[in-house]
Symmetry: C2
Subunit: 136 residues, 2 copies
DNA sequence: CGGTATCCGCTGTGATACTG
DNA sequence: CAGTATCACAGCGGATACCG
């Protein structure tokens, strides 16, 4: 993320400053933005989950994407991967402490989404209707 | 988002149920996931902002993407667009109430990101180092 | 000033097949 | 069971040019 602007010295925040302050948010989102990351975090929030368990739980995910997303989350230290040397192999994924914290933060987002779901939906319909009548 | 699974009736939540509960989160994220949405929300959080002002504030955004993102946010009812019939034209964007709420929720995410930024960075380096030694 | 229109490359994602 | 490899493709986003 090439946000290389220097920060205005002292005084009141400019719009630029505020945008710069938003970078950490971008970092979270880049980390969690994938189509599947959140689903996995939520699914793993209750305790260790196995690969196949995740595959079955998450509707529509491909093996490839499950693996990729899992790896990225592990890389970022959000998931811990434990391999049991049994046969057949058994691999478990569980949230790290910081991922658990993240999961908590996501709750306020979920809450927001649930409270305004209808409003947003309506806004969308209204907007599209407007576009239609004013040109068609 | 084709999450069409039916919910298990009564009893304890299964992993499936939990993933389904995550959908609202996905909705938020889909709405806000774009590369620029968050930056715009944060930049508009203090009050009305003009188009050019945003263009200058947000480092690296193209005109095209600014317009597109603005339109999407407006469509979802997160931004209000006001056109003043002056010359030269003047267009202002401001957050709606629900967007303001969203902005508040984002704060807990920012906080998380800031607190664990270093940890995550380290985790990444460690992970990559591990990959290297165990194969190279 | 505040946009649209067009072209185009890149990355994320899916489908499918193979493996320790 | 838990992956990896390969191919193919859609859509996001960038660059550039033009318009009311």
């Amino acid at each position: 993320m090439p946000q290389t602007k220097t920060r205005g010295a002292g005084g009141t925040d400019t719009v630029e400053d505020i945008v710069i302050e938003a970078c950490p948010v971008r970092e979270v989102l880049d980390r969690v933005a994938g189509k599947w990351s959140i689903l996995i975090i939520v699914a793993a929030a209750r305790g260790p989950v196995r690969f196949t368990e995740l595959e079955r739980s998450i509707d529509g995910i491909s093996r490839r994407m499950l693996t990729l997303t899992l790896r990225n989350l592990e890389r970022d230290g959000l998931l811990r991967r434990t391999v049991y040397a049994t046969v057949p192999p058994r691999v478990e994924y569980e949230l790290t402490d910081i991922a658990r914290e993240l999961h908590q933060s996501l709750l306020s987002l979920t809450d927001w989404a649930e409270r305004h779901r209808a409003t947003i939906s309506a806004a969308r319909v209204a907007y599209d209707a407007g576009r239609l009548t004013e040109e068609g």
